[in-house]
C-alpha cells in the first residue's frame, strides 16, 4: 500500500492478494495465449485496462487493472466458460469501475493523513544511471532507428516541426507513418530498458 491510496483501493489489493495463485496466473496466461516466459498478450491487456480506467479519471488505474486481471485469472482457473478473454475482461473492468464510483464517497470521508506514516517504495535507480542505461540501449538500436530518433526529437520549437516535415520527406513517408516508425523504435528502446532493469535487479 502506498501513501495516498483510498480504502477501496486497499480493499482491492487485499482481495487480489487473497485470490491470485501461481496456478491461476498460469491459467490466465494460457487463456490469453501466452507462454509463461513471454506474456506479451498479458501486457497488452493490462495496458488496455489502464487506458480504460484512466479515461474514467479513476485513481491508481494500474491497481484497478491488476484487480481485473486477478478476477479474470480466478474465473479462468475455475473453468468458467469464456469465449473471449479480452471481452470478458472488459465486462469485469466495467464492474470494477462501477464499484469504484460507488465507493468514492466513502473514500472522501477518510482523513488523508491516515496514510502519512506509510512511505512509498523508493527503490529506483539514480537518474544518471538511467541515462547511461538509455544511452547503451540507444547504441544497441539499428543505426537507422537511432538516427531516426535523433532527427525526430533533437530539434526544438518551430524547428522541430520543420525538421520532422523534412525528415518525413527525406524518408518518403507521410507524417503519420513517420510517427508510427518513431513509436516502434521507442517500443524497442523500452523493451531494452526493461531487460536492462531486470538484469540489474538480479
Amino acid at each position: 500500500m502506498t501513501k495516498g491510496q483510498s480504502i477501496p483501493e486497499v480493499d482491492a489489493k487485499v482481495s487480489r492478494q487473497r485470490r491470485i495463485t501461481r496456478e491461476s496466473f498460469a491459467s490466465l496466461l494460457a487463456g490469453l495465449g501466452d507462454t509463461p516466459l513471454e506474456g506479451s498478450h498479458y501486457e497488452q491487456l493490462r495496458a488496455k485496462l489502464i487506458f480504460f480506467f484512466s479515461r474514467r479519471l479513476l485513481a491508481f488505474p494500474e491497481d484497478l487493472a491488476d484487480e481485473v486481471l486477478d478476477r479474470l485469472a480466478y474465473r479462468i482457473s475455475q473453468h468458467t466458460e469464456i469465449a473471449s478473454a479480452e471481452a470478458f475482461a472488459l465486462g469485469i473492468a466495467r464492474h470494477v469501475a462501477q464499484e469504484q464510483s460507488g465507493r468514492k464517497d466513502q473514500a472522501q470521508n477518510v482523513d488523508p493523513s491516515f496514510f502519512d506514516n506509510v512511505s512509498a517504495p523508493t527503490v529506483t535507480p539514480s537518474k544518471e544511471e538511467e541515462i547511461v542505461r538509455m544511452e547503451q540501449c540507444l547504441k544497441k538500436l539499428p543505426s537507422s532507428e537511432a538516427r531516426l530518433l535523433r532527427g525526430y526529437y533533437c530539434a526544438t520549437g518551430n524547428n522541430q516541426i520543420k525538421a520532422r516535415k523534412s525528415l518525413a520527406e527525406k524518408l518518403g513517408l507521410s507524417p503519420i507513418a513517420l510517427r508510427q516508425r518513431v513509436f516502434l523504435a521507442r517500443q524497442r528502446l523500452r523493451k531494452c530498458m526493461t531487460t536492462a532493469q531486470d538484469k540489474n535487479r538480479k
Binding site: S54, R55, L58
Partner: protein, 265 residues
C-alpha cells in the same frame, strides 16, 4: 492534428463524451490496433507536456492524470531520461572529427606506450651492460697491470671501448679524445658475434693508407659474454685525424673486418 488524433487525445484526458468513449472502450478490447494508436498518442501527449506545448486546460488535465497514475509519472520521467540520453549522444556525434581523433588516439596510445617501454628497456639494458663491462675492465686492468705500472702510469693511459652494438657510418665514427699528458692509448675493439675459438688476431691501425700500428698476435680477451681485442698504442705515434682498424683472425686473414674512429689530441 487530425480528428482521430484529437479524439484519441480527448479519450486519454477523459473528456470524450461517454457514448463515444464507450464505443472506443469496446474497440479497444477487440483490436490491438487502437491500443497501439492510444499508446502512440500518449507518447505525443507526454512530449507536448514536457516541451510545455499543451494549452493550460490540457496541461491541467494531464497533470491531474499524472497525479492519479504512478505509471504515467514514470512514463514522463522516462521520456525526460530518453531526451537527455539522445542529447548526449548527438553531442558526441556532432563532431565526427573529434570522435575519429579520439578513436585514433585510443588505438594509438597503447601502441606508443608499448614502444616507449620497449625502447626504455633496451636503453637501460645497454647502459647497464656497458657499465658492468667498464667496471670489469677496470678491475681486470688493475689486477693484471699492477706489476708493470705505477699509479701514475695508469693515470696516463686512456682506455677507449669501441662497442659493436652501435652501428655507425663512416661519417659518424666515434671520437676519442686523448689528453696531451697521456702516454698510452688502450683501444678495446668489441667483436660481435663473439668468436668461439681462442685464436690470435692480426690487427692494423691505418691512418689514410699508412699503417701506424700493427700486430699479428693480438690475443682475444673475454669478460662475461663480451669478447674484445685490446690494442696498446703509444700516443706519440698518433696524431689528430681519422683512423681505421683492420682486424682478422690469424688463421683466416681473408675475413677482415673494419672499425673506424676519429682521434683528437
Amino acid at each position: 492534428m487530425n480528428t482521430d488524433q484529437q479524439q484519441l487525445r480527448d479519450y486519454l484526458l477523459g473528456r470524450l463524451p461517454e457514448d463515444l468513449a464507450t464505443e472506443l472502450d469496446t474497440r479497444l478490447f477487440t483490436s490491438d490496433e487502437l491500443n497501439r494508436e492510444l499508446q502512440n498518442e500518449q507518447d505525443s501527449l507526454i512530449e507536448d507536456f514536457v516541451y510545455s506545448r499543451l494549452t493550460s486546460v490540457d496541461d491541467a488535465a494531464f497533470q491531474a492524470q499524472c497525479a492519479r497514475s504512478p505509471m504515467l509519472q514514470e512514463k514522463v520521467r522516462s521520456f525526460r531520461i530518453f531526451l537527455s540520453a539522445l542529447e548526449r549522444q548527438s553531442d558526441s556525434e556532432s563532431s565526427p572529427l573529434i570522435l575519429h581523433y579520439r578513436q585514433f588516439l585510443s588505438l594509438l596510445s597503447p601502441a606508443l606506450a608499448l614502444l616507449l617501454c620497449l625502447a626504455s628497456f633496451l636503453y637501460t639494458r645497454e647502459l647497464r651492460r656497458n657499465a658492468i663491462l667498464n667496471s670489469q675492465l677496470l678491475a681486470s686492468s688493475r689486477a693484471h697491470g699492477s706489476n708493470a705500472s705505477s699509479d701514475e702510469e695508469r693515470r696516463s693511459t686512456v682506455i677507449a671501448f669501441l662497442s659493436a652494438n652501435v652501428p655507425r657510418g663512416p661519417s659518424s665514427a666515434p671520437e676519442i679524445r686523448v689528453p696531451v699528458t697521456s702516454r698510452l692509448l688502450e683501444l678495446q675493439v668489441e667483436l660481435q658475434p663473439s668468436p668461439s675459438e681462442e685464436t690470435d688476431w692480426d690487427v692494423e691501425v691505418l691512418h689514410n693508407t699508412e699503417v701506424i700500428w700493427k700486430s699479428a698476435h693480438v690475443p682475444l680477451h673475454r669478460i662475461g659474454p663480451e669478447a674484445f681485442l685490446s690494442l696498446l698504442i703509444d700516443t706519440e705515434s698518433i696524431r689528430t685525424g681519422s683512423y681505421v682498424i683492420r682486424y682478422s683472425p690469424h688463421s683466416d686473414q681473408g675475413a677482415a673486418q673494419f672499425r673506424s674512429f676519429h682521434l683528437v689530441k
